[in-house]
Point group: D2
Chain length 364, copies 4
């Protein structure tokens, strides 16, 4: 399959450019009988939507999604679900300047080398605008996982530049524009972002995603391990440069006696594995963490070249997020949900009639 | 496709258990006309082979690979290449004890929950023994990439537990059993491993992999980005818990002006992106780093449960690597080479006739 | 991948029901730089469009296609091409009667057994209305194949019920509503259809498709042979019950000396193979022939059961084609073009640098 | 995926040339817990095996298959099953003559044009020898389908050149070397084959395959319809030039009232559809029929060219089947079983929890 499809039984295929007529995707493989309406998708889309606070791009997009097929009398039919979002607030003139220049740390240069042509308006296909469809598709997976299996997939911002969270409360995550679970850090983040915006610079961030209620057994070793597919899905999100499962890079300096999650009849005593053993879910929470690079669209001048290879100085005007990480939480949740959904269907297909006498101990 | 295949045009499908009759794989999609013999594969296999130093498992496997098809008169024919390695040094009795117990941090518990049955001998399919075929398949990709495109894929150990490298010299990497590029750290690593082995514990490690000479343009956004497929491939290696591309998690606290790799007619001025922009190779070196967890097979007792859910104390005898990271370098190289090979063929298929006027500036 | 995608490098994924809001598809993998506009697709869509003569359904659909992405400044960019056709002439009331009944020879019964729910309006996803998107996607493939490689893909009706063509002239095919190449049979077909329509019954047909200018070498043995993928593609068209390549079923009673296509420096002396040898194109014309069953929507009463299993008598009112074969020619052309396009890209990906000294002799 | 894999959840990937060291395949996705041993595969392999009567090639191959992985203590584990058959009776000298010539109606010419190089020994990868692995893999599918679901997949020869069967008795099929169900035609076939062999010519054949006990609901519209995947699978068998489902090409001249299979509470009243409606199984027997071309390896001289394009006269010595159709029955059964197995797992994956109130009426 070409590169714009993800998933084997629950397959998401998307299209659309930042400044094209519309964004769309096809969700193929959703089981029939799931109650579904636009409202189920709009909630997640609104959480990702630009222009909701002064800390994100001021581009205003309603991001209203239409379900064009696959749902009949309020329920999925098992046939492909076509989704569409019309673009409404393109301002292509903003981008005319850079039509012949390559913005540093953007995909301009690589798209030109790959395709020999590029839609330079707002980054075209390489724009994070594409992630709206991931969130819409992910919302379908999240609803199925929650309604049928009691699985919840939730994320939060754990670090914004130098500001790390210290306290944790799920209830706080949606009380601030950062998806920050530590109420005491919100003000610090706001001040940091205000200063950053003034300076014209941008900053990176860390997002954590957690799936709870995942049954043991999901994942297809040796190549389609659950953690490998999660890494694929999360690293495919714009600006992501690193992925960790469980203890992640802390493993390097861990002893085996320290890292191993011991088992008792009452449950696992720790979760350094992040809920995945041998590429298969263990019944513990699935823990993933990602690093997002700072936005590359800056009004501070940077050295670059033009399409002919001549040196130029690039200044990116237009509307941008000074920290793409701020809006990335719903996207990371969506991708984890899509992976879990796909693996649930694959597992069911190959092992639906497996009976296991060993109890599912879960987390202690 | 089921979970034991990797790659879309250069497809590797493998089989085999730690203590089964043999390991094998099929490499489908290798272009015709490549000179190939067992000797081309054996070199990399020997670098991964167990029992070559006191710091790895003492299991002795010749790991002699046979090419069963796809090569005629010394050259690939474009038909699938069948590879086979017979297992010769199984000692299944070592494992009889744990046939009814789940070793902490092993796949025993999850395999049982997924399949309802498991080959407990040495971990069966979940054993790192499976990676021998990855190295064999990767050797084919590496030879093609090097001979046809001048691409080199090389890795090294950058951290062993608390011991971090400080100096770097490719020439040193193959002068010690750790693939360590810093000659001054080798003795420290040896002492550390000797003490560790005495203690009966294990430790994690970090491996870096670098591909040089990669042309710009490889990668298939938005889901099959080059970095996303690399993350998939590297995270699918046993014991890997984290993957970074370029600056990785250091991005979190980087400013945009600091992270962005500026372009000049003489080349990119830095490589925080790790050679991938927008999911497509930039012509700079591809930089990946992975974290490996400490081995879970320990003779130090750990709490667990048996197949009926009763509490047990587990001690893992048998022969094991106290640090799986030590032998992981050739495996990581192999997986990166397979990804690059697959993406080279995919890119060629879709864009073979693209002409680009912009010069390939590469690294300054 | 789920079942609504076709092709590996040139991938078509579609959605849409007969009476839903819209039909759409995503064409992923089209090479960049191809001049493309809606006009390039509309021509083929109009050839398939209903309501153009009294011999087809009187449902009136403009079938106006919109290109939503993947084209910039008149050229493809290499990113996915989103296509959309809004439904405009649904008359769902026509179908309310059969919401609880299964029409004989329709997919009503099987969709219910597969999904437990069905969109009964006009057959929902199982309606031939879905083929509009195949034609739109196929038009992109046909343009690329013709413009870049000089390949033409053309089809015609070779038999309508008992009426077989005897003469052949490509110029005639578009001079009549049947795609009939034999001018002397057109009147006979019209009279036959008029009588059939009066009787309320329907009839089958045979369509032949020919691709000329196909280079030798396309096809991926052993499972993705060119003829195997053609069989897959053509049999996936609604109402198709048989597929032949070259001599097809006539092979059964052919001697080897009679069937084998001898080679001379001036070309092959015959084409019983239909342009495919060992699953790979030979450079001769690709010849395929398909059988289409008679329409199942009849106003003549038929025995069936309702959703509860009770016996019922079904009469299908509404607007239908008395011979689906009449409009199938552009659909068959589209599917053959999609297969050739996909195999051209796959072949190029794996064998772009192959040099062959043996001349391409083609057809004598 | 490259071209040597078939199936999405039950995936068969094969390798091997006619005169290479060995043939092999990997069956990935077989559910765990199925009792399996070499004996289960050998039966079908022996039915396909050459040299069992004077009517087939005299090449003697034991075709002894080894199971190298995926089975533990007599049961499948859910991990990939590696299968291997060593070649034992190659006589490459037989083929040295034609190393520089292209045999008419063989894949010699097309392989050379695709790959630029070919293993000319016995046709290399294009030899029907490859089908041994299809039969081995198919035997696993057939056992699962029969043991778990009560599905039987059986085939027979319905026509050998001009000799058509008139009577039908499953019990006769294995009482003669032709898989002929009509005892009264066996003698006629033997005489025909003896005369044919003397003449040095070859002949085509027709094989029918029937699957009984298939539940309704298998098939993934719109592209992966059950009949479309069957057409793909059957057309991928060497020498097959045509595929029919149910009434097949007889549909062309059928009226809708005649073709439609009416439903009653007691079952369908006919099966012109061949057990597939809208691409989904109906619960009736699945009926497929294939046409096989006459063998192309003839000792009667034929015109051709050599690798440089010069005219030559080709005579094929060596050992060949004068009618490849004779041994094709087990191969066709295997491919149908693989398709049904794959679709059963896919259907279960996406629709495992669907409940259907409508009774499964089956065939009357």
């Amino acid at each position: 399959m070409s590169g714009n499809s993800f998933g084997k039984l629950f397959t998401v295929t998307s299209f659309g450019e930042s400044h094209g007529a519309a964004l769309g995707c096809i969700v193929d493989g959703c089981p029939p009988g799931l109650e579904l309406s636009e409202a189920d998708l709009q909630g997640d889309l609104d959480r990702r939507k630009p222009g909701t606070s002064r800390h994100t791009t001021q581009r205003r997009e309603a991001d209203e999604v239409r379900i064009l097929s696959g749902v009949f009398e309020g329920k999925t039919t098992g046939t492909p679900i076509g989704l569409l979002i019309e673009n409404t607030d393109q301002r292509s003139k903003d981008y005319s300047k850079i039509s012949t220049q390559f913005r540093p740390a953007h995909a301009d240069y690589t798209y030109m080398h790959k395709y020999g042509v590029r839609d330079y308006r707002g980054g075209g296909r390489s724009s994070a605008r594409e992630t709206a469809m991931r969130v819409a598709a992910g919302a379908i997976a999240r609803k199925f996982l929650h309604q049928r299996l009691g699985i919840t997939v939730r994320g939060y911002l754990s670090q914004l530049g130098p500001v790390k969270i210290e306290k944790f409360d799920w209830a706080q995550v949606h009380q601030n524009p950062f998806f920050c679970p530590d109420v005491d850090k919100v003000r610090e983040m706001e001040d940091y972002m205000d200063a950053l915006r003034k300076s014209g610079d941008s900053i990176g961030a860390r997002i954590n995603v957690v799936a709870e209620g995942v049954p043991p057994g999901l994942g297809e070793p040796v190549f389609d391990r659950l953690d490998a597919d999660l890494a694929h899905a999360l690293m495919s999100i714009n600006a992501v440069k690193g992925v960790e499962i469980g203890a992640g890079f802390d493993c390097i300096d861990q002893k085996g006696t320290q890292h191993r999650d011991e088992l008792t009849p009452e449950g696992f005593l720790s979760n350094h594995a992040g809920g995945v053993l041998g590429g298969i879910s263990s019944g513990q929470p699935i823990l993933a963490s990602i690093a997002l690079k700072p936005t590359s669209s800056l009004r501070l001048p940077g050295r670059s070249i033009d399409v002919d290879g001549n040196p130029v100085e690039v200044i990116t005007t237009g509307r941008h997020d000074p920290c793409v990480g701020i809006r990335a939480t719903p996207i990371a949740e969506a991708m984890m949900a899509i992976v879990l959904m796909d693996h649930y269907l694959r597992h069911r297909g190959q092992n639906a009639d497996v009976t296991v006498s060993t109890p599912d101990i879960g987390q202690a």
